[in-house]
Symmetry: C2
Subunit: 500 residues, 2 copies
Amino acid sequence: MLERVNLKQIVTKEEYQPEADRLRHEISALQQTVKKAKLPVIVLFEGWGAAGKGSKIAKLILNLDPRGFAMYSMTRPTPEEQRYPFLKRYWEKIPQRGDFSIFDRSWYQELSVYALENDLSVKEIKKRASEIEVFERQLRDDGYLIVKFFLHISKKEQKKRLKELEADKHRSWRVTKQDWKQNDDYDRYYKAFDRMLEETSFEWAPWHVVPCEDRRTSMLSIYRTVVHEIQNALDAKAARDAKPPMPQDAPIVVSPKMHLVDVPKLQEVPLNQHVDEETYRKELDRLQKRLHHLAHRLYQEKIPVVIGYEGWDAAGKGGNIKRVAAALDPRDYQVLPIAAPDKGEFNRHYLWRFWKRLPKSGHIAIFDRTWYGRLMVERLEGLCTSDDWHRAYQEINEFEKELIDWGALVVKFWIQIDKDEQLRRFNDRANTPEKQWKLTDEDWRNREKWDLYEGAINDMLRYTSTDYAPWQIIESQDKRFARIKALTVLIREIENRLKD
Amino acid sequence: MLERVNLKQIVTKEEYQPEADRLRHEISALQQTVKKAKLPVIVLFEGWGAAGKGSKIAKLILNLDPRGFAMYSMTRPTPEEQRYPFLKRYWEKIPQRGDFSIFDRSWYQELSVYALENDLSVKEIKKRASEIEVFERQLRDDGYLIVKFFLHISKKEQKKRLKELEADKHRSWRVTKQDWKQNDDYDRYYKAFDRMLEETSFEWAPWHVVPCEDRRTSMLSIYRTVVHEIQNALDAKAARDAKPPMPQDAPIVVSPKMHLVDVPKLQEVPLNQHVDEETYRKELDRLQKRLHHLAHRLYQEKIPVVIGYEGWDAAGKGGNIKRVAAALDPRDYQVLPIAAPDKGEFNRHYLWRFWKRLPKSGHIAIFDRTWYGRLMVERLEGLCTSDDWHRAYQEINEFEKELIDWGALVVKFWIQIDKDEQLRRFNDRANTPEKQWKLTDEDWRNREKWDLYEGAINDMLRYTSTDYAPWQIIESQDKRFARIKALTVLIREIENRLKD
């Protein structure tokens, strides 16, 4: 892409001023429209050292109301950040609907500068590129606008600017060894940038290469692009909002690349298992000791573990989690109860709050309810559109695939009871003072929709049981059996992972 | 304190089991009461290496509903964390009302282990101790319960345990060089711990030293203390809630250690200044260049800057901030607009959201409205009690003192206009379509209370103009004058700070 850029363009001061004023006003006004339309906007800046990212971003953000944007200056990941998937720190920074996130350097450093510096393999670069594609597509599908700028200057111009900067005693410290290295190695970086731009200029989020040798040309180009992209996105949003939603019974589609494994339908799961008290005590003790030992090995090998619990109300998730947690060192695990999203969560992509809560390498996150809320309560209570939940099977499979590719073990439990057993447990809770807080009106309301939920859950089990993260059905009519089984499955999965 | 601890106590298994069961149930039940009473609880664990912190915390938290607590395992501060006041990462982790935060190691590491390792001066240790005292007192005054455990074992016992751990191939990696160093240097650590315990066993948050040579003795002691402290705190809360509030006109008191400087009353501030357009352009340009240069020097010298803007609605805060921001590199500053607190903010100490947003060393945070909301809107709208806002003058002076002691420059602007000018600007906003979004019904409501606000603001200016962070009055009847003055004051303050 870079060779098609004309670096010789010039705009005179007389041409610049009125046009720049007009565009700046337009951007100010558009920000209010963006807020009202609840359009989330990401603007990112990449480019050569000394191309002028800092001063261009400074000018751009002066036109924005600080209540509506955040600016992120991304540096190399800290050792702490390196213990998470590389996209986590970017996911965390996506804006709420109606706000802007502006990135001075972005996830594209991971594909270009860091990749060169760390001599990443082609395979690793390809993996990251495809994860970035998924990231941007998922955001776009959720209504995000992503505007990507690459600030371009020639080798000669870069050298000139670096020399000028170095000669200025107040600014010379801004010039780093890496800047000079980039200039010395300009051709190698050029190739890497060019390949990155070609490969990641998606139709829904194309690159805008800005010729930056003339400051006025580049600034106008940035202002115009921002205005143009926002207007387009607002139009596209209006068109989308006007379209009738996908029918609720449209077929569910996941990519054939995701290998699905068989799971039984809930109605077919036998629930007659039973474990007596004595066997339970003995087995529990043995399995917890084994899990304790395995958890240490996971910690030492820095393997992250994501455990998700889903199940009917009163199925016994809490007690089951407690038996797993009891075997673990509190420094190494966290139980993450997932309730209804708060405002900041609801106003972002639904996966945001889970990305934020991923465990670091060597740690265990136990989610008490998970991202699968999208396919159950959010689907059935109309908290997202039919398009949204139809898309979510694939999105969730992609999300879990990224966890696996990062090196995580992902274990998903469905805790199963039947409708009669739920009623018995609800009544027991209602009649036992210490347990009453566990039972809410919502539990009764959900119960009335048992059949609807069962249908949705069967869809969920069927379309998200991938070979890398299959659902594990835990029969919980007898809670003791369920606890023993969950521990046994977890141990088996850890052992398999440690064998790899 | 340590020499008074009897390490020889023993509890038999027969004594232990029923009592432990009873206490565990009580803790479970108390958690629900704590939630209802909205009591925020902090439990922290300090002590010798190999005293058993991990396993004791593991047992304690198994009795708690994960929806009501978070557990923090604190390690040495990362380089990133070292760029903030040392208490920031602890402030960030205080619980919401009704929740628990449990710390495996805490801010007391900063007074003991890190102090020894880094050979901190007595002066520095004293400074930290007094900041910790302020931290805990401010939390206590806001209704927080702080339970502090120190787990004690003898040198001999520690050695025995470290050897046992090392002999266990699955756990030997848990023993670090530092553990052995502590055992070799036991006497030195003993003295440091002992001094710390003596000096920080505040009446409102005493230390509980737990003899840990016998596991059952220590566990019972921890359970009992937790139950006892929570019950006491619930009683104290009920007593406090039943007491009539302090009268609104009770005198405002700040510690005489805070040296207050004179500021005029708002009614006495002359507002007849004027700057013509041409002088303004020239001066603005000159001052912004100067500020740009100084900001680079602050960055290089890693000095953090906290700028607070307060002022009447429509006084011109936004435009004033813009002229300051325009001189800065967007990588180095952030404008932080402060609106009404969200739920998570409202349910914590009011300073929490400001601690969270402090700039890191070398960076500039510009707060558009600040912690002074406590003394204006929160005072006048009854969003806190009379006791709360009476206490806040001192608390805010303490907060700002900590920023200064950390090395920050703190500049506070009051942007002043008179009542007639505000009316002109409101009407202008109401009549200009692009400006209408800036004017809300709340603005009109606040305007009706002008005189009340003026009284509260005069109190605020009088009692929080300390010699280390005095209020700067910016006359803004003429916005150009105000912008020039704010830049001039800011430059003067930075120059003074750089001279130090």
